[in-house]
Symmetry: C2
Subunit: 316 residues, 2 copies
DNA sequence: ATAATCCATGCATTGGACGCATGGAAAGCC
DNA sequence: GGCTTTCCATGCGTCCAATGCATGGATTAT
């Protein structure tokens, strides 16, 4: 079989792919001068591009016919494929866009329970307004938050973040203050509220998921101290009722505590340890740094945090 | 809706498409040095290509992670599309191949009846041997052969072609000789066989399709003369029987006449006009000049014509 | 601490694409 | 036939963007 042509792989490194744009113009126009104009180059340059394309394809591509050039058989074959390839390139380069108004899917956010309770209403409000078709999934990070970001199992995390490992980006979000709440006629209000008195009392912890340490326990852990958690409840309002009718106390972010204090049955005090406030940060993986969807998400989270903070400022 | 990004058409004239090959290597390797090696360039050049790609995509594409670079979200999206595009380019550039052994389809050849009868057995033999799945369709060109080539309704034509118009390519194929056959005891054999005697006799024309002038009539037309066609039959052997039993004569290509002369009831003479032989040429449209399928077809036709001529040589 | 690896950038070089100019070929018009 | 117009291809000189060498900062491992 003398006529079997050995199939040879094309080495794209050696090929000037920019010629393909010129080819499309030449085949559309069937006229070197007009194609040159369309490409924004001179006629000689377009003629030379045609020469190089002829060499590349080992085919004349455009041949003399009545009234000027006509497409060769090879050019007729190639033309639809070429259009399809260049359209694909155009789409690939354009795909860097994100429209929240029409976007669908699920945003996965990691944040501790109580912070979620503070922030979520504002975040949900913004999402409902700007991206009505996006869903929000909030999970407690536990001790594995950074791993989850690393693995792509979460989009972002709002938490107390001391150190960001390689690949994790971070931005300060808001300062979180803690307050301790107890019933208005609690015996501990009769004297100085020391750390020892604080640790001697029994505590309520509000935890929706039951996962991970509360920020209070993280702070105490850094001091080598532990409190007595007498009760862990998933329901904030249940916690308030129990505190109002017992000697149990609870320590909360001030943003949450403010709502409870409005009930007028509880008193709020600064907790008796040095670290009364800490910075909540937004963390995400570098992989998503420039992704339009993620840029937008970070802006929404920051805005929601500012919404939350400005409501707090108005109240003080 | 502040966040709607205005969709902007990509101007491919301004984009260096050669960067896409580098991008594939960089995303595959996740390491600039190794990608450079694979691309056959230096590490700094590959690093700068990455820089340009980052600008083109407005995305980092490769970001620091544990153990080196990891793909950005955008890169993850782009990667399969990119592979698909580059594979498409490779296929497009490779498509210039033709394997007769596996090719299917129909070859449409134009050639006058008698020449077809001469050439077809040799052509069919070669096709059966080299391209068993290709079909052959032979039609008489009539007076519209060149139009049919122009319009792409035929692949090639074998005929007497004086002038090839713009866009039609031509190559000499073989010289065709004419002989006149008559029964062995025909009265015209008694004296000189002049043109006047030739024209005074009645003629048989063998025509399978009944379409178009025989080459004899074309030659006579150029002399301003006409012969009397008494009988037109589609069957060559019928023509032989009639000639053997009547005063009718017939004028044929020598390649065909040879088979009849072997029957020993007919005598062959050179026809009494100047143009006793003419060149049969192969014609095709320039559009198909470089197409592998057509290159191969032209070779096969030329070879078949040579097969036919060499058999004639052996007999003489 | 040192060594190895990787990536990014300054600097000098250069090859290839470019535009201007030109002329041949083809088609149309008188 | 000659003249004009249009189109395409090619010579020549220019220049610029991509390249490789050299270098140094950052990170990781020992």
């Amino acid at each position: 079989m003398d006529y079997i042509v050995i199939m040879r792989e094309v080495d794209l490194r050696r090929i000037d792919l920019n010629l393909l744009v010129a080819l499309e113009a030449l085949l559309d126009e069937k006229n070197v001068t007009r194609a040159a104009h369309r490409l924004g180059m001179s006629q000689p340059a377009a003629s030379r591009a045609l020469g190089r394309l002829r060499a590349l394809f080992s085919d004349a591509l455009l041949v003399d016919g009545p009234g000027g050039y006509v497409l060769s058989s090879r050019a007729e074959e190639v033309r639809p494929v070429l259009s399809w390839i260049l359209a694909g390139v155009g789409e690939m380069l354009e795909a860097n866009a994100f429209d929240p108004a029409t976007a669908t899917g699920r945003i996965r956010l990691l944040t501790p329970d109580l912070q979620a309770a503070s922030l979520a209403p504002y975040l949900l409000a913004r999402l409902a307004h700007e991206a009505p078709l996006l869903d929000l999934d909030i999970d407690a990070p536990g001790s594995h938050g950074l791993d989850l970001l690393e693995r792509g199992d979460a989009d972002a995390m709002v938490a107390l973040i001391d150190e960001a490992p390689a690949g994790i980006r971070r931005r300060r979000l808001y300062d979180e203050e803690l307050v301790t709440l107890m019933r208005a006629d609690h015996p501990a209000l009769a004297g100085e509220f020391t750390l020892e008195r604080f640790l001697a009392l029994e505590h309520i912890v509000v935890s929706v998921t039951g996962v991970g340490p509360a920020p209070v326990d993280e702070v105490l852990a850094r001091m080598g101290r532990t409190r007595r958690v007498k009760l862990r409840v998933p329901n904030f309002f249940a916690a308030v009722e129990i505190a109002a009718r017992s000697d149990l106390i609870m320590t909360l972010p001030s943003s949450l505590a403010r709502a409870a204090a409005n009930m007028r049955r509880l008193v709020s005090l600064p907790p008796p340890f040095d670290l009364k406030s800490f910075t909540m940060s937004l963390a995400w993986h570098a992989r998503q740094q420039d992704a339009p969807r993620h840029i937008w998400l970070r802006r929404v989270i920051v805005a929601a945090a500012m919404d939350m903070s400005s409501v707090a400022d108005v109240g003080s």
